[in-house]
């Protein structure tokens, strides 16, 4: 076992580790250690998940039956808008960045992230951004209410809440870009000896590709909202038809960001699942190289399909066909991934601990979301389904059953490494089955609502939609309740769980993070891991064969 306490060489400048001597709030405020920052990101994401979740429950409460019960339509629209923005930018994305912060240096054999101080900045931009979003609820005119896509002219006409949201998006974008620079630099420059790019864990690969995507598209979103801001206050007319601008241009720019953003939230999930399934199937990942190429293909294709979000704007048939076929093409690399996960499980010695359950749940439900996406990619069908609950069902299958379930899987998978204790398996499984059942009760009926023509973003609806809406609301409240069990499980584990965890709690884990003790000490890999140890893990993952380098 490598001793992580050897402090021979590491990449911090002298004095940078002052945070380790600090306790209380100062430890977290001045944190430069990747584990501390990862923890901060994860707790922040969870807080935002609860905030966005409560908003979702407010939305569902209003939709329990027809008529207006709780909220006026204006506030309902604010709830849907903030729910979307908070879940995407506040919960899912920071959670993945948190995981990358915690796990990448451990998995790659690096002492820390490449830029420890910038890492601190990346995180501490998030709370003010979240505060701006929440404050917007209390300013005259209320929070933005034009949907998370912020389409003009609605967003151009909104009150000052929109300005706060725009500044918030600027901060969130800046944080994402800095976080991405850190992730890319860490992965490209700080891997353990012997770990070439095509030998690193798939989570590192998906984090790398995601970070590149973010650097490419987060500034484009920043540009779009800056144009919106100048349209609102400085007399420009980028999106103002009366001044010669074009509101549809905003949609083009937004979705040039927005579609890759979908994969920014999906690719890390693919990486997590690709770590977990081989561990619990006790087999190396089937088709590692094809998984890497599929990840890159998805990333490249994601830049070329934004128009499928705009089939209904009056696009020429030529352009519709172009976007339709390219969108369908994404199903190919995604299918490669799904088949690889299934092939990994095939004839494996599988056990079904909580992380594996969430990973399998992810594969099943994400595939459902993928198929409904394939349906929506067909332009004539999309024209029918545009802005109905079918679309809501589709993207919640992708983002809740996809991104969120993978995050739950990751938390249960690495919780022993983070805390040093084992979680309660029975309660973990209860959390999974509870979430699995109520998630489907919530979102599956939305397919039917959408097919029957119920529009999204409305507080009231026609009588024939009542039963499915009531069912979805019951499901949503139960699903929400289940997440308190998740919180309890995590807190219980932090306080000792069911007992201490060994360094390698899972039989099939072969990546480097399982070589350090549990809990992972504050400083790890201050000297790079031994090349023999790295090779042993790579051989077990079937990405390196004995004597390959010598040959």
């Amino acid at each position: 076992m490598h001793s992580p306490s050897i402090a021979s060489t590491h990449l911090h400048t002298p004095g940078e580790h002052h945070a380790e001597h600090q306790t209380g709030w100062a430890r977290w405020l001045y944190a430069t250690n990747h584990k501390d920052i990862g923890t901060l990101y994860l707790w922040f994401a969870f807080a935002m998940f609860i905030t966005g979740g409560v908003m979702a429950l407010c939305i569902r409460a209003e939709l329990f039956q027809p008529g207006l019960q709780f909220w006026q339509p204006e506030f309902f629209n604010q709830l849907t808008t903030l729910h979307g923005i908070i879940m995407v930018f506040g919960a899912i994305m920071p959670a993945f960045t948190g995981l990358a912060n915690w796990m990448l240096p451990l998995m790659l054999g690096a002492p820390d992230m490449a830029f420890a101080r910038m890492n601190n900045w990346s995180f501490w931009l998030l709370p003010p951004a979240a505060a701006l979003l929440l404050i917007s609820l209390f300013v005259p005119g209320g929070a933005p209410a034009g949907g998370w896509t912020l389409y003009p002219p609605l967003s151009a006409q909104a009150g000052m809440g929109m300005d706060l949201a725009i500044f918030s998006i600027h901060l969130l974008g800046l944080s994402s870009i800095m976080g991405s620079i850190n992730i890319i630099t860490t992965i490209l420059n700080m891997r353990a000896p012997g770990m070439t790019l095509l030998r690193m864990p798939l989570f590192a690969w998906t984090s790398l590709v995601t970070a590149y995507l973010l650097i490419a598209v987060a500034p484009v979103l920043a540009g779009a909202v800056t144009m919106l801001l100048t349209d609102r206050h400085f007399g420009t007319h980028f999106f103002n038809a009366a001044g010669g601008g074009d509101p549809v241009l905003f949609q083009h720019i937004f979705w040039f960001f927005g579609h890759p953003e979908v994969y920014i939230m999906a690719l890390p999930a693919f990486g997590i699942v690709s770590q977990i399934i081989p561990t619990f199937a006790r087999k190396p990942l089937f088709g590692y190289v094809s998984m890497v190429y599929a990840t890159c293909s998805i990333a490249i294709l994601s830049f070329m399909v934004w128009g499928h979000h705009m089939f209904a704007v009056g696009m020429p048939a030529t352009a519709q066909l172009f976007f339709m076929f390219l969108t369908m093409l994404i199903a190919v690399p995604t299918g490669v991934k799904v088949f690889n996960w299934i092939a990994t499980m095939w004839q494996g010695s599988m056990t079904f601990e909580t992380p594996m359950l969430f990973a399998i749940g992810f594969v099943c439900l994400f595939t459902v979301g993928g198929f409904s996406g394939l349906v929506l990619s067909i332009a004539p069908i999309d024209t029918q389904m545009q802005d109905t609950y079918y679309v809501v069902a589709h993207f919640h299958y992708v983002l809740v059953a996809g991104a969120l379930f993978s995050l739950f899987a990751a938390v249960y998978y690495w919780l022993p490494k983070w805390t040093g204790y084992m979680y309660h398996e029975g309660r973990g499984k209860l959390h999974f089955w509870w979430s699995m059942i109520w998630f489907n009760v919530t979102f599956f009926p939305m397919h039917f609502l959408g097919l029957a023509g119920m529009p999204r973003r409305i507080p009231d609806y026609a009588l024939q939609f009542t039963q499915f809406n009531s069912l979805a609301t019951v499901g949503a409240f139960c699903f929400g309740l289940g997440q308190l069990l998740f919180l309890f499980n995590v807190l219980h584990t932090i306080r000792g769980g069911v007992g201490p965890a060994p360094a390698q709690p899972w039989e099939g884990g072969n990546t480097l993070e399982w070589e350090v003790p549990s809990p992972a000490p504050h400083h790890t890999w201050e000297s790079p891991p031994d090349i023999a140890m790295v090779r042993r893990g790579l051989i077990a993952q079937a990405v390196y064969h004995e004597g390959e380098d010598e040959a």
């Binding site: 060489t9 620079i181 630099t185 484009v220 144009m227 030529t318």
Partner: protein, 180 residues
């Protein structure tokens, strides 16, 4: 274990970070560049619905007339002159036939809209049945017209325009108030 040369890796990291930050800055500019790029890209590929090359009408403007009737209205409407060619500075006259298919009188209005929207600045309505609400007696058939004045100079990039009418029912009370 050989020690890592900290300074070399730090320099490598810094160089890479600067390159990546530069890419982010360029992408911010790319967002702005999309504004002019978007219009010229559509024209270059010929996928702009209003492109002159699609009309086969030379320098003139192809004007299409379209009608939609609300589902609850027992009225049919037909454009007798569905497609016309508008010459710069000239006039275009288009006729429509309205027929009440029920025994009861109906009160309706026609809501016009242009596509592309900027065609409204080129085709000015001199006379239009859409200016006023209308009533049709039971089973009555009536011919109505619209007369458009075409601008003296037609934008080069605009080859075709559509004037679409949507017929909508209005309650009898509202109709009477408007007539008075």
């Amino acid at each position: 274990m050989a020690a890592i040369d900290v300074s070399i890796i730090t320099k490598q990291n810094q160089r890479l970070a600067i390159k990546l930050a530069l890419v982010a800055a360029l992408m911010f500019g790319f967002g702005y560049a999309l504004a002019p790029f978007y219009a010229s890209f559509c024209q270059f590929l010929g996928i702009d619905r209003a492109n002159a090359s699609l009309t086969q009408a030379g320098s003139a403007l192809r004007v299409e007339f379209d009608v939609n009737v609300a589902a609850d209205l027992p009225v049919t409407m037909q454009a007798l002159d569905g497609v016309q060619v508008a010459q710069a500075g000239g006039q275009v006259k288009a006729r429509f036939v309205l027929r009440n298919e029920s025994d009861q009188p109906v009160y309706l209005r026609a809501v016009p809209s242009f596509a592309p929207v900027r065609a409204a600045g080129v085709l000015q309505k001199l006379e239009c049945f859409c200016f006023n609400a209308m009533s049709l007696a039971g089973n009555e058939q009536r011919e109505v017209t619209v007369v458009l004045l075409v601008a003296k100079s037609l934008p080069a990039e605009m080859g075709a325009a559509t004037l679409s009418y949507s017929l909508q029912a209005i309650p009898a009370f509202t109709h009477k108030v408007r007539e008075s």
